[in-house]
Each structure stands twice: as C-alpha cells, then as structure tokens.
Symmetry: C3
Subunit: 207 residues, 3 copies
C-alpha cells in the first residue's frame, strides 16, 4: 500500500502539475486547479459550440458563393444579321406583319435566339439590352418594331423617298424579362428592309 | 484504506488505460502517457488557436461575399422613349438648348433616370453604356447631344432636307461616372426630333 | 499515508464529481463516468476531424471568392470618336480599305483600344458587345465594316445622294473573342464618313 500509495501520489501530482504548467487560454491562469478535467470539458463544450456556429456560417457562405457563381456564369447574349449573301435583296413588303428572321448567327450564348423563327426566348429572368438596325432602299416605307410578347417597345421607321435611294435606322431598349418572355423584331405590314449578310441586324444580352 | 486504496488504484489505472487505448491524432502514438491531461490541454490550445484563425478567415470570406453580392445586385439600367402617343408630333425647334425629356419609361432599375427632367443621375460610381436614337422629319436640322454634366460626349446630327422627308440617327458611348454624375440628351437650339412612343429613345446601364 | 490517502480521495473524487456535473454535449449524459479522459480524447479527436474538414471547405470557399473577385474586376470597356474638332472634315474617300482611327478617347478600361491604330485587342477571352455609328455627307458612298481579325461582321452603308446632304447609320454585334483577337472599323475603299469630335464613333465592352 505504501508503494502504490506513493505511485498514486506521483500520478495525481503529475496530473496537477500538468495543469499548473499549462495556461488556460480563456482565463489566462497558470495556477494549479482542482478541476482540470471539469475545465477541459467546459472548454471543449465552448469550442464545440463555436465550431457548430462556424460550420453554420461556413455553409451559408458556401451557398452564397454557389449563388454568385451561378449568376456569374449565366451568360445570355446573341447577335444575328438577316443574311442574304454579300449583295442581298429586299425583304418585303408583305401584306401583313411578319417576324423578321435573322438567319446569319454571329453568336448565341445561352441559346436564347432561334434563327429559324427569329424569336429570342429569355432563358432566365433578368434585365436585358436589345439593339436592332436596318438598312433599306427608299422605294417603300421602313418599319421595324421591337416586340416583347405582343407589346411594341421601340421602332425604326422611315418614309418612302424617291430622292434618297437608301437609309439606315437603329434603336435599342433595356427590358426586364421573365423567363420565357419572347422578344423579336417585327417587319410591319407593307414595309421593307434590305437583307444581306451585314446591314440589318438584331442583338441582345443579359445585363 | 485498503479498500479505498484499491479503488483509487482502479480509478487511476482506468484513466491511464483510457489514454493508452486512445490514439493521439497528432502524434499517432498509442502508448500510455504519464501526462494525458497535459496533452489534452496542449491539443485543446492548438485547436482553439486554429479555431480562432479559421474564424478570422471565415469573417473575411463573409465580408468579401457581402461585397461581391452588393456589386452583383447593383443593377442600374433604364430605357425610355420620348412618348407622345402612337402618332406623335415634332419636339422643337426651340430657340435655346433643352434637355430632351423621355417620358415613356420602359425600365428604370436603380431609379437613376428621372422621367420628369430627362436626366439620369448615376446612383453609384462605375462604367456605364448609353445609347440614344432619333427619328425626325427633314424640315429642320436635327441635333441631339449626349451630355455628361456639361460636357458634349457624342451626337446624332442631320441637315434639313426638302428632298428626304424623314431620317434616323443613333449614337452610343461608354463613360466612367462618379456617383451623382448627370447624363442626359440635349436637344440643341433650333433643331427638332419626332416624338412618339417608339422612335426617339434614350437608354443606359451600368456595366 | 492516511492524510495523503484522504487527499487522494478528495482529488480523485473531485475529478469524478466534475465529470458528473458536466454534461457530455454528444451523449447528453450527466452521470459520472469511469472514462472521463477517454471521452475527452474521443471528443477532441472528433472535433479535430471536423475542424480539418471545415478548414478544407473554408480554403475552397476562399479560392472561389478570389476567382469571383477576379472576374468581377475584369473590366474591359472603351469608347472613342473619330475626333477632328468641333466642325470636323470628311475622312476619305481613299483608294483602298483603311482602318478608321478613332482618336478622341472617351474611356478605355483595360486598355484594349489603341487610339493610334484604331484597333481593339481583346485583353481577355470572353463575350463582347461592339457598336459603331457614322455621320456622313451625301457626295460619296459610306461603308463602315466592323471587322474581327479579317472577318466582316456587320456594316453601316449608304448610297451617294445629291438630294440628301447628310445621313447617319449605326450597327452593333455581340462577339465571342479569344484573347488577342482584333476588332476594328474598316472604312471601305472609295467611301467616306464625316469626322468630328461627336458624330462618328466606336465603342465596345466585355459582357
């Protein structure tokens, strides 16, 4: 018993000494304590609590980064010209309104523009910029109207003119679109434009 | 005492055995140690230090995410037409320069554009794109000047013409603005444009 | 020995009592345990493991934030006019195609546009928007072609006209560029535009 008693003494003393020489980072005390394990448990609990709180914040940060990246990578942008070759030909006049189809695609990120129909369909909700430009001879009126769904937004217009054999016109708009909204250029009834690879164009992009 | 001595022996032995069978994740050692509590305190200190460092980094990440989101959500974009109904009427000529007021607002994110005054006031510093377009009859000169504060930036201009009864013109610019900078379209003295809902327009957005 | 035995008793009892009154956050048990240090070590190991995992996630978040910020700060945007003073003069016609140099720089973020050569060189790969606009007298044909490397993209064009003394034209395009791609406005052979500080312009920006 004396031997084991002395061994106990050594062991317990070593425990207490260990405590004495370690500094509690929270209290800063370096003196020995009678409740080293209790203190450790308290500390561990505090750290576990903070770890849980930090993990919640980290999760929140991660989900916001995902959201930011998804916005960052949502690229919607297109440009197209009527096509018609180098020289081209007049498009119209027709007796009724027609969607002007821009067949020569310069770019179409996000695949919103359909070069078969001439219609841009918003792949995502957001604020978009659209631009259209025409070149046309003077024999007929020119009237291109930018349409959102069925609403007239902006227009390029020119009178017929026997004196001036050709003219140009452009217009643009910023529109807030819902996903699926349709935007296109309408060639108004009884009007015409010149269609070749370069002059009459339609473009747009998500801001 | 023998009994309690034996009990002590059991207890302290159990402590030491516990240590012996647990592996220190840092050192990987599985051998018993005479300073288990000291090791725990050391480990706890190291973890607390790392936890503090991680919390600092997490805070920094959070504040950078807030900054990124604020940039992401700073949407400034507007478009407006002169208005004037479907048919419309000439605006001008006037004897002095006038700010051209675009009364039919197509969009106005960030509320930078004032449809009463025709003036866009930059809500935040940044790089902006502006576009303007006119349609006008040939009876008078056309001169629209895009103004930043009091500086002429770009212009659409047309001579009077008895031969050509109408014409179009557009221009655009990229400008770096300070918060509060003013941008507007000036209808220059003794010139006119056609004002209806669709043809004469002003738009802009923060890049 | 009796005294020290009692002291041991007190110490060890205090350890056990400490455990008894502290709640294990994981198991929720408040009863005394014979393996308090073992439990602590287990807990510490679990926390360390989670800390390591969280640090990995934090590092990942930090690197994604850096990436987002770098994209956020890649601003490329420019605008320039031909220059030529307030009144200006015709530019062209010349017997061969010429790059039209826009000497009055309105803005040039990212330094992509060179006002000596008239050429924009994409500083980074990406999707860009370009706009050009001309004003010109009627004595000669007008033909400005937006060129990417050597490809014709869009054009503004006008016939010569003795009746109409001046006209305007604009066009625009969205283009996906590789770093180093060249974009410029070509004044086509035997055509002219009017060059002053405000009317004939070229601008572009990275979307």
């Amino acid at each position: 018993m004396t031997l084991s008693g002395s061994l106990f003494m050594m062991l317990v003393s070593s425990l207490i000494l260990a405590q004495s020489t370690s500094q509690n980072p929270e209290t800063g005390r370096t003196d020995g304590t009678l409740f080293p394990v209790y203190d450790l448990v308290k500390e561990l609990g505090a750290m576990r609590e903070k770890q849980g709180a930090m993990e919640t914040r980290l999760k929140e940060s991660e989900s916001q980064i995902v959201e930011l990246k998804s916005k960052e990578t949502t690229s919607v942008a297109f440009a197209a010209t009527s096509g018609g070759g180098r020289e081209g030909a007049a498009i119209g006049p027709f007796g009724t309104d027609r969607t002007l189809v821009f067949r020569r695609v310069l770019s179409n990120l996000g695949n919103g523009y359909n070069s078969e129909t001439g219609v841009f369909t918003a792949p995502v909700a957001g604020t978009y910029y659209f631009f259209m430009s025409h070149h046309a001879g003077g024999q007929h009126i020119v009237s291109l109207t930018l349409i959102r769904n069925s609403d007239a937004i902006v227009q390029t217009y020119d009178h017929a003119s026997t004196a001036d054999t050709a003219d140009n016109g452009s217009n643009a708009a910023v529109l807030q679109l819902q996903q699926g909204d349709l935007v296109y250029v309408r060639l108004d009834a009884n009007t015409h434009v010149w269609g070749n690879d370069l002059v009459t164009t339609f473009s747009g992009f998500l801001l």
